[in-house]
Symmetry: C2
Subunit: 536 residues, 2 copies
């Protein structure tokens, strides 16, 4: 069963060993175990907010449904659930099972003046699901029952799905016939195709398979004005590309009911290789050279020295790690070393060719390969790392992640600015944060920068909320200050909306608003996401 | 000097040899040499249309300027120029030399109620430059003096140009420092960066360098509402991607003044290889398998049997071709053979690896390689083939090209439907057309389909115009009927605007119009391009 107030399945529990706990205590202090609110207490809060929706046969106003549909995985969502400070919840939940039901619900919501929030896997980390303030009733439309593979064209390598299908289900339906989409964000276990598309998601192997933008060939957007049908061409110069209006629309223009995706045959060969480099400058230079050499690697991920230390400390196996570190030191990778993970995917010939070329580049930068030992470990845990959030919480620590993308000349300064902003924000409250960073997606032009912050939750909701919002604000400002985008892969939602004008400009935001106003003149869709409170 | 009524430079003349002429005569009949209108006659027609623009120090109303700025390279443009049936010409021409002058002109045009047509290299083949009907004066803004390289970042591999820079000038400025954009459409000699971006151009080696969409990292659009500044991120999930509003906007939202492009180091190694395959099904299957194997080839171009025959016939060198054909026949490539051109570009190791993998695939489909003999020839003539239009005209033949993109299962049927539509349209007038086709850009999902039609011009403008419009209409309908996009690489302009609704839907077109109305409420920009006469 899925956890109602944390990440993932209740049968999966990661444990923090004593060494890992000691590592954290040393850095940010010992923490108290928090006292989480109970499910029954949370339900009582929902019951205290009577639904403002009139009855409809497809809409449930049951409290458990309303509770579960009102929160994603933003740390703000966690704090409200764990401390039992729910705030506003949605007024009702529908699980349409067909396009017809979906359109019926949109029409009904329009007619009664409700706001509709589309919800895929409820994995948003930027507040997409928080019901907006105001007098209008809120209907959350859960799309998880729209999960069928509608068509698979093996010649054009296209698969059409109902857009509510979640990662494992989607891959299972494709793999049964020898195909894969290859989209593996960390939210893979629950996130849906439609959510990926409308928030511009990026998977761990996007270097091979592309960001979701590159896979999305066409689809159907159910808007308040009717259905927008977007045909799947291999390419087109026929004016504006309407797919781009769906991508990143975050529910503001409608609900994606179907999507036609570019899929591939399952690769013949795949391996992940961990390579240590002596220090950050060497690692960054190697990552850049590898990206710019366009070798066709499926993944490049570079941990900075603190993340490398943290990874090794949290891995357990102190003795094995000790041996590894001695061997690395002997080969030039000592205290400041960094870990680069490479993904090699393709035909056997392609993997051989890219491995030879990558090896030559890495050698020039002092790289020491550990073969596939760490790679296999990374692969086994690729969707489990996020369960650490539960384990850390149980010991009194909160975790948040923030990310951006910048061009290569800004990468190092941005890493520093983001980590420093996090440190300073908590220092001002007399707290410390353990901050570490990796480059998760590497391009010829630049890189994403993905930072993790671990800090003590504090004694109560108010303390925790103040710490989180101070951190979030400081880091967002640092990102904008470095000229980075406010999100490389998480989206905008409500948490990032205040920072969007810095990159779109007032001109840009007003034009986006004009488009929303045209397609959704009554403001039915996902009000509050993406753009907040622009004067019309 | 540039030809005023045909393609290219007056010093370059391709000749049709007797054999080539015989080949055409046999297929579509002997033609009369046309009597072209003189420059002085055309000028007189301009003078008969007094400019409706008030004076402005940056605007020329000189007749020669107005004449040259009113036509692109659509066959319709040719017919009007060659027969001296100009129709409406622009009222004035400006050559802004800075963003400030550009913005000054936009403001002035707005204030006096003029329409502004941005003009890059005047190579549009879809009527972008034709002044719209109506009472408003028309100002054509020529952007060719905005041609400077403003910044080159070798670390992020980004080059920022003023957007009026033309192909050879852009490459010269980059190559001086060891870089290339790698964008080589057939219009390369004159077309500009801004034109490529705003019409979604695709170059011959887009398989390596990407369509212009993939190269365009950011820029500045000068709109009637002000400047839209689009920062150059490596990637972003921050809502709508404003670059996509510039791409394919065809002047309707403003003028692109600057563009930041993703550039690459000049490749270490490049070769073009010509391979014959026994017949169309084998060629198509090989092209698809090569595209779907994602080998990193820079080009894949497959001529159908008629284009293959035509290429060999027009090449001259009858004796050498005879030897070649005997050798090919002996190896299984006889009457129905097709020619596949491959581009291999990259480091020496990459080219070796992709060549080995390509060879293995081609062998399975009965491919016979001619090495780089035909490839070198293709390379030498890559921008000269278009000069054939002048040579054919001189002998009484008109040439038009039409193109689309469809998914693999539709490719063969689309080739047939397009060629048949062309044949039937002219047959209905008692004329014949020589029609041939190649796949110019090949994707895992499908392919572009690029067809050429040669037919007799006829005795006068009315005959020629009727033949051309009948052909254009029939082929456009065939494309739409096959579910293809109305353009893979030429754009929409005025010639394709009537067919846009078939792929965007009324919903889509109305939303595009709403965006135009927001950004350009007075309708200053490029009126008539992209969308025509939608009810507001």
């Amino acid at each position: 069963m899925r956890r109602w107030n944390g990440w993932g399945d209740t049968t999966i529990d990661l444990e923090l060993n004593a060494a890992a706990l000691g590592f954290l205590t040393e850095r940010i202090g010992a923490a108290q175990d928090p006292a989480d609110a109970l499910w029954s207490e949370a339900l009582a809060q929902v019951q205290a907010q009577p639904s403002r929706l009139p009855p409809h046969p497809l809409v449930s106003i049951e409290s458990a449904e309303r509770l579960q549909a009102s929160f994603g995985q933003s740390l703000g969502d966690w704090l409200r659930l764990r401390f039992g400070q729910l705030g506003r919840v949605t007024d009702g939940v529908a699980w349409p099972e067909s396009r017809e039901e979906l359109r019926e619900l949109l029409g009904w919501a329009s007619a009664i003046g409700a706001v509709v929030i589309p919800c895929g896997g409820a994995t948003s980390v930027v507040g997409h699901l928080t019901p907006p303030d105001g007098d209008r009733p809120v209907l959350t439309m859960r799309l998880g029952r729209l999960r069928r593979l509608l068509a698979l064209d093996p010649v054009a390598q296209l698969a059409t799905f109902q857009a509510g299908v979640a990662g494992p289900d989607l891959e299972a339906q494709l793999r049964a016939q020898g195909w894969t989409l290859g989209h593996y964000p960390q939210s893979f276990e629950y996130a849906t195709l439609g959510g990926w598309i409308t928030t511009r998601s990026s998977g761990q192997q996007s270097a091979r398979y592309g960001r979701i933008e590159a896979m999305f060939a066409g689809g159907r957007l159910e808007t308040p004005r009717g259905t927008l049908d977007i045909p799947a061409f291999p390419a087109s110069a026929a004016g504006p590309d309407l797919r781009e209006w769906v991508l990143g629309s975050e529910g503001r223009l409608g609900v994606l009911s179907e999507a036609t995706m570019r899929v591939q045959r399952l690769p013949e060969c795949e391996r992940f290789v961990g390579v240590f480099l002596p220090d950050w400058p060497a690692g960054e230079a190697a990552a850049r050279e590898l990206a710019q050499a366009r070798l066709g690697l499926s993944m490049l991920r570079l941990a900075n020295p603190i993340e490398t230390v943290t990874t090794l400390a949290l891995a357990g196996h102190a003795r094995a790690i000790g041996w590894l570190e001695r061997a690395l030191r002997w080969r030039g990778c000592g205290a400041g070393k960094v870990l680069l993970m490479l993904g090699l995917t393709g035909s056997a010939a392609q993997v051989r060719a890219m491995q030879a070329q990558a090896r030559a580049i890495l050698r020039r930068h002092g790289g020491v390969s550990t073969g596939t030992v760490l790679g296999r470990r990374w692969q086994a845990n690729r969707f489990r790392g996020v369960y650490l959030r539960n384990a850390l919480w149980a010991h009194g620590y909160a975790v948040d992640t923030m990310e951006t993308a910048v061009n290569w000349p800004q990468v190092s300064a941005t890493v520093d600015a983001i980590e420093q902003a996090g440190h300073q924000a908590l220092q001002a409250m007399g707290e410390r944060t353990h901050a570490y960073t990796h480059l998760s997606h590497v391009y010829p032009q630049g890189s994403s920068v993905y930072s993790t912050f671990v800090f003590r939750i504090g004694p109560d909701f108010d303390h925790a909320w103040a710490r989180w919002t101070a951190l979030k604000r400081a880091v967002s400002r640092a990102i904008v200050g470095q000229g980075g985008t406010i999100s490389h892969q998480h989206g905008v939602g409500k948490d990032h909306a205040p920072y969007l004008a810095a990159e779109k400009g007032e001109q840009g935001l007003q034009a986006v608003q004009a488009l929303i106003d045209h397609i959704d003149p009554q403001g039915v869709m996902a009000s509050g996401n993406l753009i907040q409170g622009l004067p019309r």
